[in-house]
Symmetry: C2
Subunit: 617 residues, 2 copies
């Protein structure tokens, strides 16, 4: 098994271009907006453990994780520069965790303050999930600040969990109902070198779907599937159940496969990944099409307006893909990361950085909201506008930590090679083949189609540059050989320069014929960016718009969305409301200019019809 | 205001062709099948009024109406021939009603046996609706048998209702929550000549949406809309709320408009009818697209798979249209009746006559049923197969009474003219201009495109033959002038013969551009019959099939469905499951023969994907 090194965000500075802007927005706006909404809703106060009946803001069993993810994101920010307002809140929260930790090491708001008799009694109550997020935050905090008190607290908690689950087997269940702790334990192991954390993670992975305790806790069948406990992990062949849990599980499986050189586990990961990307993923990288269970459904079931595609599920799939790159340098994984980055993940956040989507639909019809004028019950439909905070607010702090650490998706290395997975204006430093190599990327990708690399001190090292799956024609300023989607170039000299230019015209994309929802429809993509049309640009009846198959597209940079918009020729039937309802086909068309905006920028101008998959003329 | 006479089914014998077959099936199979399921489920026994806690089959508040509709249908059968098995059950039921009627005249299973203290206390509990159906049954029974005991029972009950609602105003509400009694009272008035029944009906119509008692009973707003109480009836401009209730209300409004020569009420009826047929009706004549509230929703909101389109709602719209013909001899009304007859109504019943749809969807995807493999909650989706009986089994006996009396949709008359609205092999007798005229229709319509009329004793009478809205070219064997869609012919001699021949090629139909669900899609129609495609004929991925715009259709009679099937050229993309999910458009097509079957015949071969609106090449 190949083992590639993840290059941590600490070794990379994103200093220009699209992601520098997004990171600045995250630092200056988003992280603060999330903090204030969490303050308003009592989430920080909950760490005082003094909530009493009659007080507002009763703590929920997932609140530890909301705050932990925000803390983790702040740690990433602190590493890169001062953020005193956030840091103060972070430190105060650690104080409270320190004060609130049990003598045995246990820490959880809900099961200490609200349900003290129910510790480790309900598999679905996110208890170990919360522990995992606190551990991830503690590792990030130690890494960023060098202050280890949070880490020590969480190691003590991890040790307690180890005793309860692995030694005593005294909990009411055997493995987490909501995965997350598994991957956090691997992080803790890598950070501390303490193998017992890896072992505990492997224990959870090995026992999942393979023990009677969990099965008894989570009948009937649908619940086992919802929690990825329907089969032992090495026998799983299709992505099932809650899409965030699934993604976190598969990420941990990949981690364990790499750390323990478990080929069978790696094979299962590959099978699961292939199932997702060839049958169960939206064109945006969104996954989990089913609202009920927030879950993966069945192959090719990818409805557009009913797409659930939780933001956290897209993030979880990026986690999984990134980890696969540490064993298999195949560009398919980095392609999926890129698709998620520019589409299914980015759509989560408003252009002003303050509001969020929990679900990320592929189509919106505003009219559908008014159809139940005579009813008090409704079909489920995704939100039309982003909001500042959710009751279940897992996504916003997942976004802040993801953006702050997005550099981690850029590179992996081995002894002689630097793999370039993502293109972002940046400086990075690597230990490769015993020396320190620096790589500078200069690019306005994906607005522009050129990436310039300068490799310092890289003589004899290879740069393996991903040629994106969407790109059918490219040029490189040096000789290369292709390996699994990467153009491998030998660096020479002290300051080796390399320029990649990619043909990046807008293209119409079709979905596999098995995808019923997209029969007769096409999406527009330019480079990695998926586009959509909105009524705000295109007027009424956008559902009736036909796009010209002979795409003669005009590409115009738009500063509001920090990306080009695309204008193409199209047609729409004439409005004839009320004059007839059915008639022999005439299909009298009016020609029009159809304006596409990046999918991620939809719903920033009030409720508006939106569509990714449009009719083809 | 014009007043045309309805020609009762008693004066018409359908003796050949499509509807003779359906009537035979209704007599020999359907009516018995419904009876037996109603026996199995305790509905007949409930009329003993002796249900006690612990016994099976607790009576429901709408059971009177289920049985009443069946009784009404049996009365129609008895008029046309012996049916001793049904007659015995009918007579026994009347015995029980006689025995169970209160001294004050009240009769209702549920409010006598189950909730005796709640009489007239809840507007939504179908109490007056049940009374209405019992009255309709009693009128039909008297008319068919000449035995008046049931009629007398129901007149006594109607008199009691009159006292409670009109004289004392002592109920908790003022007008029925589920309309039906209104039109039944007009029938009772016409049958008995007792004007107080017409007055009571008018009282309900006039007070609807115009009194504070109902408003207090049915807040909030959505509930008022659900029960058509959001506005006074003369101010209603859009079809709202529960689609069956709405259709029964509009039918009664039309009845009252005709009987009282109320032009304002007629104008409201015309506005409502136009709103339905130009904005809120499926191509099948189905109405009420919303599952929640079983309701009309908003203009042009006509989703295909989520179409609710209850069978009873289609029947109610036919009632409304038929009544409009008694004031306005415009073929648009008879066109809608015909559309309903051959499509949205007929789809309700299996080809074997034993099983029924409550909802009549425009598309089925079998796969959608398996999507929630990880959940215990589900999206609502319409049934894929017909069943023998429902918990709420309003539709089956509505079907039996409708088919048994379908001749009533064929003709109206005035002093000098016979309007032919529907084409069915039949003999009919009319009093027109002081003499008895007989009309014989010979036709295998709509398999065939020719209708032959022989008018006996019709010298000087005019025959006004509807030229269907779907027909763009026709020929008549005699001179005519067109009036509002009718070809008016002067009959001459003792046995005047007339032949109508209609061009009846399959056609592709588009929906108004405002109908989002059908953008880029077409339906196939031949004559009045709407077609659909099923996986059972066309294999996998029927959603991906494109139909040739240059329709070169082969029409083949199929005895199983008693109608032609239609075969056209089409294309479908090649199956490539798993090899890719998204790619630049190639749209590699395979040519195929696409087999269309009549929509009404869908779902007779097990669960199968079905689609009415298909992609156009």
């Amino acid at each position: 098994m190949n083992r590639y090194n993840m290059v941590p965000y600490t070794d990379i500075d994103i200093d220009s271009g699209f992601w520098a802007y997004r990171q600045q927005l995250n630092r200056e706006v988003t992280t603060g907006a999330v903090m204030r909404r969490f303050q308003d809703t009592g989430r920080f106060d909950a760490f005082r453990l003094n909530w009493r009946e009659g007080m507002p803001n009763k703590p929920h069993y997932f609140w530890d994780s909301d705050i932990a993810k925000w803390m983790e994101g702040v740690a990433y920010l602190l590493k890169k520069g001062p953020a005193p307002e956030y840091e103060a809140v972070l430190e105060e929260t650690i104080d409270r965790i320190e004060a609130g930790q049990g003598k045995d090491g246990y820490f959880n708001i809900f099961f200490t303050n609200i349900e003290p008799t129910k510790r480790f009694s309900n598999r679905d109550w996110h208890e170990l999930y919360c522990a995992g997020h606190l551990i991830e935050a503690a590792v990030a905090y130690d890494e960023a600040t060098g202050r280890d008190r949070f880490l020590k607290i969480m190691m003590k908690y991890a040790d307690y969990i180890d005793r309860v689950f692995r030694e005593e087997n005294s909990a009411a269940f055997m493995t987490p109902g909501h995965e997350e702790l598994e991957l956090a334990l691997v992080k803790l192991y890598r950070h501390t070198g303490e193998k017992r954390y890896l072992d505990l993670s492997k224990f959870f992975i090995d026992n999942r779907g393979a023990n009677d305790k969990d099965k008894a806790a989570d009948t009937p069948e649908h619940k086992l599937r919802l929690f990825q406990s329907h089969a032992p992990v090495r026998e799983m062949t299709t992505a099932e159940g809650h899409a965030v849990r699934a993604g976190y599980l598969y990420s941990a499986m990949a981690d364990i496969a790499r750390e323990t050189q478990d080929e069978t586990l790696l094979a299962a990961c590959k099978t699961l990944f292939e199932n997702i990307v060839t049958r169960r993923m939206y064109i945006t990288g969104g996954v989990g099409s089913g609202r009920y269970g927030e879950a993966y459904t069945v192959d090719f079931d990818l409805p557009n307006e009913l797409a659930y595609t939780e933001t956290c599920a897209a993030i979880a799939l990026a986690y999984f893909a990134r980890r696969m790159l540490t064993m298999d340098a195949d560009s398919v994984y980095a392609d999926v990361v890129e698709t998620i980055l520019y589409n299914g993940f980015l759509s989560s956040t408003s252009l002003d950085g303050k509001r969020f989507f929990y679900t990320n639909p592929m189509a919106i019809s505003v009219r559908d909201r008014s159809r139940n004028v005579s009813a008090d019950k409704y079909e489920w439909l995704p939100a039309m506008e982003r909001v500042e905070v959710f009751g279940c607010s897992c996504c916003p702090p997942n976004i802040t930590r993801f953006v702050a650490s997005v550099a981690e998706y850029m590179y992996t290395t081995d002894e002689k090679r630097i793999f370039v997975h993502q293109f972002m204006g940046s400086n990075a430093e690597f230990g490769v083949g015993g020396k320190t190599v620096r790589v500078r990327q200069t690019t306005d990708y994906p607005t522009g189609n050129t990436v310039r690399f300068i490799v310092e001190n890289g003589d004899g090292v290879q740069l393996a540059v991903r040629i994106p799956g969407w790109c059918r024609k490219f040029s490189l300023s040096a000789g290369y050989k292709m390996e699994k989607g990467y153009a491998v170039v030998d660096c020479a000299g002290d300051a080796f320069e390399l320029t990649l230019t990619m043909e990046m015209e807008p293209e119409l994309i079709e979905a596999n014929p098995e995808v019923q929802a997209n029969a007769g429809r096409v999406a527009l993509r330019r480079g990695p960016v998926v586009y959509c049309i909105e009524a705000a640009d295109n007027g009424e009846r956008i559902q009736d718009i036909r796009v010209d198959a002979q795409l003669d597209a005009k590409v115009e940079y738009c500063d509001t969305v920090k990306m080009p918009v695309v204008i193409v020729r199209g047609w729409r039937r004439k409005a004839e409301a009320g004059s007839w309802l059915y008639r022999p086909v005439k299909a009298e068309m009016e020609e029009m200019r159809v304006k596409f905006i990046p999918y991620y920028a939809f719903a920033n101008r009030g409720p508006s019809d939106m569509q990714v998959w449009n009719l083809l003329k």
